[in-house]
């Protein structure tokens, strides 16, 4: 008889899982993949990734996926097919109808196959077509001129993509779209990626779309784009979008930080044996979405993270550096004229390089500036004052 009380009312909520948008950034840097050719060629990695994507789509009807390629000199969408590439394809096929169909996320019609779930087939077809086009249009000159990867650019593109559907679920903006969620143009059978379909999915469940980013990285040396990368990472942190990182090769520094700051998962498959099991890593560690992660212990927690930064002047990764007290930019060596390269503040360094005072003094708290060659064995320069604006 105690069925009527306030606690009972709350329980009527339907516990349908929020749909999740997975944005994958695939590092397609040809240099790095060439190095991995023995243990895990790109074709095999892509096949594994496709199974993983299909598994993600299979988990929830409303789950969606997007893939960006972080190529050597540019970042390019692999799925959904960008509008301009769709046009090109439609023209080259000499078939205008495809242009209309393309609104559903699939680029062009994949071959009909009764043995494959259609949304999977469409995705795979679009993904592979775009990847092939990307590889075809890469010139040797471009590869030789850019040895690294455009990870910062890809991350920014991914963020821009995520922000669209997320904004649509925001209650203040949905007020207007609420009244047309009977939009019949949305395709029921397809895992449509067209943002215009969002109103249908989101308003139905009135739940936020959970988003996450997975970076499949093979290149090291990201110090070139340190500032851009860190800005993107902090943006993710602010939007509480976890960045999962699967490192197949290369130096981990910044991506490990990215996973750490955003509560993502970082795993490094450094041995050929580990790389051979890439699919199992993907399915076990990276497939659980936000709802499942609440229930499961995720890997990589509690490991040491390399928190080093890159200096703003020479893009070197530094253990100890100099920090401008005004704009907090990092430099690897003392500035020649005492003027910050970024904000232009004049900084004076009073006692830099002097022996520390023998008499024990109260240690100054705050951001420490230490000598580059100060080493760990020496006493940390307690006397070396923080640069102050002069």
């Amino acid at each position: 008889m105690n069925a009527v009380d306030a606690t009972d009312r709350a329980g009527t909520q339907q516990e349908v899982e929020a749909p999740s948008l997975l944005t994958i950034i695939l590092d397609t840097n040809p240099h790095a993949w060439a190095l991995l050719a023995d243990s895990l060629p790109l074709s095999k990695a892509v096949a594994n990734l496709l199974v993983f994507i299909n598994a993600h789509l299979a988990i929830n009807y409303a789950n969606r996926v997007a893939v960006v390629a972080s190529h050597s000199e540019r970042a390019e969408w692999l799925y959904p097919t960008p509008a301009n590439a769709r046009q090109e394809q439609a023209e080259s096929n000499g078939d205008g109808e495809h242009g209309n169909r393309a609104g559903t996320g699939g680029a062009v019609q994949p071959p009909d196959d009764a043995n494959k779930y259609r949304p999977f087939a469409q995705l795979e077809y679009a993904f592979m077509t775009n990847l092939q086009r990307l590889m075809r249009t890469t010139t040797p000159a471009a590869i030789s001129s850019a040895p690294s990867t455009m990870l910062a650019g890809a991350l920014t593109r991914a963020l821009a993509y995520i922000s669209k559907p997320s904004a649509a679920t925001n209650p203040t903006t949905t007020a207007n779209t609420h009244f047309n969620y009977s939009d019949p143009s949305s395709v029921a059978g397809g895992n449509s990626l067209n943002p215009s379909d969002d109103a249908t999915t989101t308003s139905r469940s009135s739940q936020r779309l959970t988003t996450r980013i997975l970076i499949v990285s093979v290149s090291g040396d990201l110090a070139e784009t340190y500032i851009e990368l860190m800005n993107a990472i902090f943006a993710c942190q602010r939007l509480s979008i976890p960045i999962d990182v699967l490192k197949l090769a290369g130096d981990p520094t910044f991506l490990q930080q990215a996973a750490d700051t955003t509560n993502g998962i970082y795993l490094s498959l450094s041995t050929p044996a580990a790389r051979a099991g890439m699919l199992q890593y993907l399915m076990c560690a990276y497939l659980p979405d936000a709802a499942a992660r609440e229930r499961l212990v995720m890997p990589g927690e509690g490991e040491g993270v390399d928190f080093r930064a890159a200096c703003f002047c020479h893009k070197r990764v530094v253990d100890i550096g100099f920090v401008c007290s005004i704009c907090l930019s990092i430099f690897c060596e003392p500035l020649a004229d005492g003027t910050c390269l970024l904000c232009g503040s004049h900084l004076s360094m009073a006692n830099y390089g002097q022996k520390p005072a023998v008499v024990a003094r109260l240690k100054k708290k705050g951001r420490k500036k230490r000598v580059v060659d100060g080493g760990g064995a020496d006493t940390p320069g307690s006397g070396g004052g923080t640069p102050v604006p002069g």
Partner: protein, 504 residues
């Protein structure tokens, strides 16, 4: 998934014999549909993690993986229990002889095929390779589906009010089916709605379809049909794409027979009953999803009134505004919806696109007299609440438990029902003599995690559950483990070590 629709299908599936599952899981489309629709979220994650695992997953491995807080453990137990009752997960032993879980061979193989493609099962529907001479548009399919389905609903609701009935005709087969499911009872020549008919009406549309289809399945052997064929075809339908025509070439005789009935329900569209192509409608493609089955759930007036009055085409899933003063405004002009509302409200006035009504003690208790429960009324009002009412909920993002309906009204509806009934009866099983207090506690916790516990009588050392199959499996496992532990202890008595009993 916790929606009523999948629960209904789950209840049906759970009691099927194991051989049926083996046959069902031969089809990748079925494996995918069951995976997507029937499993709780954690179970999906588990299945996916184990799908490409070469060895069985040790029980201890799973224990380490799941966080140790109470909620996670409960979710884990629920996931395991559903996986086992659907014959997806089996107990096994890993290489070292420890207890482990493994996936059903057939299920794993089919799901892998579904993910990677390939094979020659043709279970995702064979599209027609020739274009239809007169292509069928999606709008047409929607209209067709809505017309057929509304006719069925209207037949059911019409039987509640003698004045309304008879204006629509549905096929004799469907009529017989509705009687078979006891949604309507025939008295003389007039059909009368029954209590389960009301339950049927107030469900959301996806649940309605499943309810009807399960009645159909239960009776399918009487129609010379193979239930497995029917079931796997239904799951295949869920993976088809709207607006594409499929060929009937690879269907079994049962499935061909099924096509006729399904087109009566509006689930598929065929131009004529001997046509070699069929189109799935939105009712079909959303069978295995959470998406709204009809884009326009307000069931437009297309069946009964002038089709030119398209005013209702913009109305959508939510159309009811309920105020704290028990007044109700429904933005609809559909006679079907109005007559559903009239089951439990007292209607006040009607405007071209709006009906006003009031929930009164008399109206609610009249509905309860008819066999409608307060929970049904509340869930109907909740699912059909106007977006404006949900907006209020969304603004309080911090507190997601803000109710959609005014709490006072919800409580009052419940109280009105309680006035009439002082006793609730549940069918179930009383479990007693469980053993030590610790074992008792564990059993009760397990039952609670499964969601079958109704009431425990701690002082008497017994408790009451609604379902027994899972519990009996649990007790058997416990007993076996106890025996094993006892044997181990005996064997190791010389060594002086004590067999450690595994926590379940």
């Amino acid at each position: 998934m916790s929606s009523t629709a999948s629960q209904r299908a789950l209840d049906y599936l759970e009691v099927l014999p194991g051989t049926t599952f083996t046959k069902l899981y031969q089809q990748p489309s079925t494996a995918l549909a069951i995976f997507r629709r029937m499993l709780p979220h954690l179970a999906k994650t588990l299945v996916m993690a184990m799908l490409y695992m070469p060895t069985p997953l040790a029980v201890s491995g799973l224990d380490v993986w799941v966080k140790p807080d109470a909620e996670s453990l409960q979710a884990r137990d629920r996931a395991l229990s559903i996986l086992q009752s659907l014959r997806i997960l089996f107990d096994a032993h890993d290489g070292a002889g420890r207890a482990a879980y493994k996936l059903s061979e057939a299920f794993a193989r089919s799901l892998r095929l579904a993910l990677t493609g390939g094979g020659d099962h043709r279970s995702f529907g064979v599209p027609c390779n020739t274009a239809d001479k007169t292509p069928v548009t999606v709008e047409y399919l929607d209209t067709f589906a809505r017309k057929q389905w509304e006719a069925i609903l209207y037949f059911v609701v019409g039987s509640a009010h003698t004045g309304l009935g008879g204006s629509v005709t549905i096929s004799p087969g469907t009529q017989a089916l509705l009687q078979e499911g006891e949604f309507v009872a025939l008295r003389g020549r007039q059909a009368h709605i029954t209590q389960s008919g009301f339950t049927f009406l107030l469900q959301e549309i996806n649940a309605q379809i499943w309810t009807l289809l399960i009645v159909y399945l239960e009776g399918s052997s009487g129609r010379d049909m193979v239930p497995v064929d029917v079931l796997s075809f239904l799951f295949t339908l869920g993976s088809l794409e709207l607006g594409i025509s499929y060929s009937t070439s690879n269907l079994t005789p049962t499935q061909l027979q099924l096509l006729d009935d399904l087109s009566d329900f509006g689930i598929i569209y065929r131009r004529s009953s001997d046509s070699t192509r069929y189109y799935p409608t939105r009712l079909a493609t959303t069978l295995t999803s959470d998406a709204p089955a009809l884009p326009n759930n307000s069931l437009t007036s297309s069946t009964t009134t002038d089709p030119s009055s398209t005013s209702s085409s913009e109305s959508e899933k939510g159309y009811i505004i309920l105020e704290t003063n028990y007044r109700l405004y429904a933005y609809t002009s559909s006679p079907l919806l109005i007559s559903i509302l009239s089951l439990f409200t007292s209607l006040r006035s009607r405007y071209p696109n709006l009906v006003t009504a009031k929930l009164t003690k008399a109206s609610i208790q009249a509905a309860i007299q008819l066999g409608i429960t307060s929970d049904q009324i509340i869930s109907y009002l909740t699912t059909h609440a106007h977006p404006l009412m949900r907006m209020h909920q969304q603004q309080n993002q911090a507190n997601l438990n803000t109710p959609v309906l005014p709490p006072t009204v919800v409580d009052q509806i419940r109280l009105w029902q309680l006035e009439g009934e002082r006793m609730v009866s549940h069918r179930g099983y009383l479990i007693r003599d469980v053993g030590t207090a610790e074992e008792y506690d564990r059993a009760v916790r397990y039952a609670e995690a499964l969601g079958v516990l109704r009431k425990e009588f701690r002082s008497r050392g017994s408790f009451f559950v609604t379902r027994m199959d899972q519990m009996s499996a649990y007790f058997k496992g416990q007993a076996a483990r106890k025996r094993e532990a006892a044997q181990k202890r005996e064997a190791e008595l010389g060594g002086g070590s004590v067999g450690v009993k595994r926590e379940s």
